[in-house]
């Protein structure tokens, strides 16, 4: 199975309006996470030692649902009724309705704080194996709540957290000096990769080390280009 196999699933969600996988900024990163990195299993959704993937950037979750469907977390026929009255799949994901979804998101700037708390909770219970991955958008970094979490996780060396920022340059006022430096100044290890290059994304994710949280900035096409 490759990321190309996700395409027909995406088509079921969005019709022909968006048909090329490249139209989905998060798709390749999500695929690499679920195909190569995350230690999660749809048969053991409540395994306390599973990795946690938190989609903070909850809008435009079609790629997320399609990858979850491809990996066996949800039935494929759910994809045919996006945001319908009886559909568990909406335009922002709901953890109480979708298997494998760790947080309900939509309002921007909530995932990283929840991720930091999740990492702290796992550590307090002696669960040192699971990593906590939080996917954000570059425009989402406009929200001050993210900077509360970035500063605290960096200051305390919360090294079980990996943030992934999809950078399609959609922040209205941009991030002069680059996104990675915003994290690095608070003590995070940071790497910027081509968000369409699966090997580069995987390598970036695997660079997480001890003593500091890690961020992978995955650069994709400029929004609207």
């Amino acid at each position: 199975m490759t990321v190309m196999d996700v395409e027909p699933l995406l088509r079921r969600l969005t019709g022909d309006e968006k048909h090329a996988p490249s139209a989905f900024s998060t798709l390749d990163v999500l695929w690499v996470l679920y195909d190569r990195v995350l230690r999660v299993d749809p048969r053991r959704l409540d395994d306390p030692d599973r990795d946690r993937f938190l989609l903070s950037k909850g809008h435009g979750p079609a790629a997320y649902y399609a990858v979850l469907a491809a990996k066996g977390f949800l039935p494929h026929d759910w994809l045919d009724d996006l945001a319908g009255a009886d559909s568990p799949l909406g335009h922002h994901p709901d953890r109480l309705r979708v298997p494998g979804v760790e947080i309900s998101s939509g309002s921007l700037g909530h995932g990283l704080g929840l991720g930091v708390g999740t990492a702290l909770g796992l550590r307090a219970q002696g669960r040192l194996e699971p990593r906590v991955y939080v996917l954000l958008g570059d425009a989402e970094l406009d929200e001050g709540s993210n900077h509360e979490a970035i500063a605290y996780a960096g200051a305390t060396g919360l090294d079980s957290v990996t943030a992934v920022v999809i950078d399609n340059r959609s922040a209205s006022h941009g991030w002069p000096g680059g996104i990675a430096s915003r994290f690095a100044v608070h003590g995070w290890t940071a790497v910027t990769v081509d968000g369409r290059d699966h090997d580069a994304v995987e390598a970036g994710l695997r660079q997480a080390g001890e003593g500091a949280p890690h961020v992978v900035v995955a650069v994709v096409e400029t929004k609207g280009s």
């Binding site: 953890r95 309900s104 909530h110 990492a119 307090a124 709540s145 509360e148 605290y152 200051a155």
Partner: protein, 291 residues
Amino acid sequence: MRQAFIDTATALIDADPRTALVLADISAAAFERAALKHADRVLNVGIREQLMIGVAGGLALTGLRPIAHSYATFLVDRAYEQIKLDLAHQGVGAILVSVGASYDGSSEGYTHMSPMDVQLLDTLPGWTIHVPGHPGEVAPLLTAAAAHDDPVYLRLSTQTNDIAYADASSLRPVRHGTKALVVAVGPMLAPVLEATKGLDVTVAYTHTPRPFDTTGLRELATSGNVALVEPYLAGTSAHVISEALADRPHRLLSLGVTRRDLHAYGTPADHARWHGLDPATLRTSLTPWLP
């Protein structure tokens, strides 16, 4: 009450590995020893209230029982969306413990006051809200809250009654009369008892306005006249009482903190007077209303 909270929370953290405390600098010094002993479960995130609630939500998602604590205005007003989304919408709970109440920090000005905290939480489903009227009520309420996973708000104040009541989760009659039921919530009991001296009314006390004891209300409100005296925004529990008595004729007088920003300092007693919650003004409000 704050000391009772510190002592009880410290004991809970010692006794129960599920209990975790999240602070945003406020009261951090009081938990220094607990933090040295349990560094993984006593977490001070700095002056970051959005993160404090986000972290509480994350801790709860892993199965811990978080307690988050600050001034009511920073804990509830400032972080309201985190409470709505990082706790309620995720389907997890926490214990939020506030100090400062409506105007305990009167000399600090309006930035340190939160008369609206209870009403804000009342917009969300499922919260148990405790407003103790005495330090002696704090430990049992907090200990009970730590034993489950539901959302609980514990609103502490420097204003206190003379006596602690152990059985005040429901409406507890303190004085009996015939013309009206006067419900006093939390620290309002002392001024209400003073204000109603010699009046032919039943005074009932509760430290738990949510869930409100509507069964007790229906039993005690036989006269059909109910006066509600709350130490936060006036009318916060009016909708609950109206709903509970919808099938019978009744009159309801709702007293509490007004919506005015007074732009004034002074003492909590000054603010009580300005909002009409001192014994003399309460009596002035109640007397012409009584049948």
